[in-house]
Symmetry: C2
Subunit: 155 residues, 2 copies
């Protein structure tokens, strides 16, 4: 069985090929089987809220029924932003496993640190830095190529 | 022309009739005309992320094209939660006008106070407490009726 993070990384590569910031997300059920998966669709849909993890969580509850993912794990290649970190608490995700840390835009271990706030009622288990180098390299390569493309366009 | 907040309150009443937590949201354009509007669909769609303001912002960019709402005002009857407060910065909403304050679940003037954080790149203008009593009474009445219903069900 493909692990959640392996599939999330594959989705992030797919995102890059689609011209999206390469972030992939997977929701697995209590048995570890993949329930839902998505990559960023911000550019494709022109929707700033269409982050990979938001789409995967929405898909997971739609498939399972109910509104809660307490017995599920969300795998995502980048530390969720504050919007997604707060959404994770709304969906009551049991465990979040993420790849690269995001000191500027992250909302789990940086910024508002949503899971650790006193007013956050549902606090997921958080495991950060899983296959961190690989997930971070994916993003770095994407932005380097984008900058190169922009510079070439100027010539 | 119906003001943004008047229409947001009308939508919140519609939400209550649909069995949703009564919150309504409206996005107006630079001329003050209503671009998009929505009420909570969390229960109807069984989607914990289907908050009124999230739906209204998504609808507004879909109708206008692009991803930014810098020249727009978001009217919402309740202080946005951290998820929506962070989404507001992703959509780069120019101005947010909200009704009731939400000390427990709010993310603008409470909790993470998203618009005032140093790492928040886009900081909307925020005006809270507009028709506060009316917006708060709507929520209070809804939850009182819900508790009454639950107690009656127990008999």
């Amino acid at each position: 069985m493909t692990s959640g993070m392996t599939q999330a990384i594959a989705l992030a590569h797919e995102a890059a090929r689609a011209g999206e910031v390469p972030v992939g997300a997977v929701v697995t059920g209590p048995d570890g089987a993949i329930l839902a998966q998505a990559y960023n669709h911000v550019e494709t849909w022109q929707d700033p809220s269409a982050h990979a993890e938001m789409l995967a969580m929405r898909q997971a509850v739609a498939l399972r029924g109910g509104q809660k993912l307490g017995d599920c794990t969300l795998f995502v290649t980048l530390e969720p932003c504050p919007m997604c970190a707060a959404a994770i608490t709304h969906f009551r995700v049991g465990r979040v496993v993420f790849g690269a840390y995001d000191p500027k835009g992250g909302g789990m271990e940086h910024g508002p640190r949503v899971p650790y706030r006193p007013e956050t009622l549902h606090k997921p288990e958080v495991i950060g830095g899983v296959r961190e180098q690989e997930c971070a390299a994916l993003l770095k390569d994407f932005f380097t190529a984008l900058r190169h493309q922009k510079n070439t366009d100027k010539l």
